[in-house]
Amino acid sequence: MLESYIKERRKTKDILLMTHMVLGYPSFEACFDIVEQMVEAGVDLMELQIPFSEPMADGPVILTANQKALQTGTTVPKCLEFAETVSKAFPIPFLFMAYANIPYQYGMEKFAAKMAALNLKGAIIPDLPPEEGEDYLHAMKHNNLDPIFIFSPETSNERMSYLSSLASGFVYCTARKGVTGKKTRFSEDLSAYLSRCRKAVSLPLAVGFGVREKADVEFLKSRADIAVIGSETIRVVEEKGVSAVGEFIRSIR
């Protein structure tokens, strides 16, 4: 399970890195190269986003990547196939990130069973709060997978306790309001919020939204267990090409 993997790795690393990619963008071949470079550069876990036509919680960079991936023919079966390839080829844990309609159409139980069969470890479904996710939670548990829940700065202490009673693996803390890919101020406010998160849950904490550079990752050391790099690697690929990814990852740790 993810929790023990993360805690074990943290014995030798002061912070872990989780990266993100939109499957099929810019192409599945490029995605494979990106994963390879990320793993070589020391990324500890990865979220693989299955593109969706209505990515409500994503900002411009990931939104455009979703659309382009769909335009070039990315389908759910192709994403599953890719996930199987990388989880066999590389020794780190992979998670799916998807909007609720993707597993809902596939069938929650069938989707979870498929994930387990492909050796994926968990999933992040940003538009499926636990109140709506009974079938999902059941299917994940049944298949020994971690449903990753999200804390936001707007989440009350009471709700954090409720969410942590259902969460496993780790908890994903969004560093601020808003959508992915915009700038975050790594400030005292963020620090206070993260200590609130830390009190609410004993699971490892991942922090994402606006993590772009070495200083951001430095800030998160001692305050979190995992720094999540999302939109920024897509920007690097768009601006400097696939081959620049490994160097970028090495530069921020």
Partner: protein
């Protein structure tokens, strides 16, 4: 998270975590307002002084004669301020925004009716206003964009996705997750996460309340059937809500576009192309592919060109409480032309869908039956769209000539 708002298996609140607290606050505000005995009077008084309520119920004598069946009545939501039923919802939400103390409103718009209505409300109540509108709709609805801007709103063309209504909704949510402290999202139809479907239907129920009283006064009995077009479903729910507990057949008319077998339509409830799904924060019938990706929709009327439908209507479809039909673009134009020449009334292209279906059914009813068609909006305001739909050569010459004067 409080109440999740289910209608059978449809509805719910599929919210990103960042919005959960905002929706709890919204639900509390709405519950307070509903339980305040003075609120409905305040709302009705505002609608009678600022809009044109109660709107008339017009007996269409010539259309009745033409079809030689049921007596045809038209509920005149077109006579609202800004020319559509959208005013009912925005003024209701506007009163709520004032009570919540927020200073900014955002909204999505398809045809532009909701955007214009929202901009008038924001002007009247002194609120900042940003309207998200798909780029395709901005191009085909310039007159409404012009008015929104003149009313002081900022119109943001949405260039993502299919660049129509659903994409504008996504973009409005993206704004809201950043600015929920200061901002209320005035959703324009009875869709989206709970409590929006219930809340919008509540404000629109003023249509059905009036219509029921009016028909009883004129006819001394209930109508046999009532007809409304269905995009998101707010005008239909408004009319239907007046007759839910009556032996009245409720008929919702979706956009049949080029035909239900063409793939070019926006019929969620009466075509085989839609299935239950989850998007934009709620569960309902969506036009989607096997993977769950939303499909492109088509309609002659921008206001019906939407991929989902109110969860309340999805439930009424399942239980059989309402019947759903579709009208094609061609049928809609024919119905609009007939209504104009017979009654001197100009329905919006959206509303003309309800007329088209009523015209198909009126001859089969007896002269003792009465039916009500909801004219959700006026068509003369959308002269560019209607003239194009009519393919009117004199109008084209006028536009070409007018354009030439700008080049001069």
């Amino acid at each position: 998270m409080k109440n999740r708002g289910y209608y059978g298996k449809f509805g719910g609140a599929f919210l990103p975590e960042i919005l959960v607290a905002t929706f709890d606050e919204l639900e509390t505000s709405f519950e307070d307002l509903k339980s305040d005995p003075a609120f409905w009077d305040e709302y009705s008084a505002l609608m009678s002084s600022y809009s044109c309520r109660p709107t008339p119920l017009t007996f269409a004598a010539n259309l009745t004669w033409e079809f030689n069946g049921a007596k045809i009545y038209i509920k005149r939501e077109d006579l609202n301020h800004t020319g559509a039923h959208k005013a009912n919802n925005v003024m209701g939400q506007g009163l709520m925004v004032r009570k919540m103390g927020k200073k900014r409103v955002i909204a999505e718009t398809g045809a532009g009716q909701h955007g214009v209505a929202c901009a008038t409300m924001a002007a009247k109540f002194g609120l900042d206003c940003t309207i998200y509108m798909g780029e395709v709709d901005v191009l085909r609805q310039r007159p409404n964009v012009f008015w929104m801007e003149q009313l002081g709103a900022t119109v943001v063309p949405v260039k993502d996705g299919t660049r129509i209504l659903k994409d504008a909704i996504n973009e409005a949510f993206r704004d809201w997750v950043t600015n929920m402290d200061t901002t209320h999202y005035v959703l324009g139809t009875a869709c989206g996460p709970h409590p929006f479907p219930e809340m919008v239907a509540y404000f629109q129920s003023i249509i059905g309340k009036e219509a029921r009283q009016q028909i009883l006064k004129i006819e001394g009995k209930l109508p046999s059937r009532v007809y409304a077009c269905v995009g998101g479903g707010s005008n239909a729910l408004g009319l239907f809500s007046g007759f839910l507990n009556d032996p009245v057949e409720l008929i919702g008319v979706e956009a049949g576009g080029l035909g239900l077998n063409s793939g070019m339509h926006a019929s969620r409830l009466c075509s085989k192309d839609a299935r239950p799904g989850i998007a934009q924060g709620y569960k309902t019938y969506f036009l989607q592919d096997g993977d769950g990706q939303m499909k492109e929709t088509h309609s002659i009327s921008a206001g019906l060109d939407y991929v989902g439908v109110s969860p309340i209507l999805s439930h009424m479809n399942e239980t059989g409480r309402a019947r759903f039909e579709s009208a094609t673009d061609d049928e809609v134009i024919a119905a609009l032309k007939l209504t104009m020449v017979k009654e001197g009334i100009i329905p919006a292209l959206e509303s003309a869908h309800a007329f088209a279906q009523a015209f198909k059914e009126a001859p089969g009813l007896s002269k003792e039956d009465a039916i009500i068609i909801n004219q959700s909006g006026r068509g003369d305001k959308d002269i560019f769209t209607v003239a194009e739909a009519f393919n009117d050569p004199k109008w084209k010459d006028f536009i070409i000539g007018k354009a030439a004067t700008y080049h001069a």
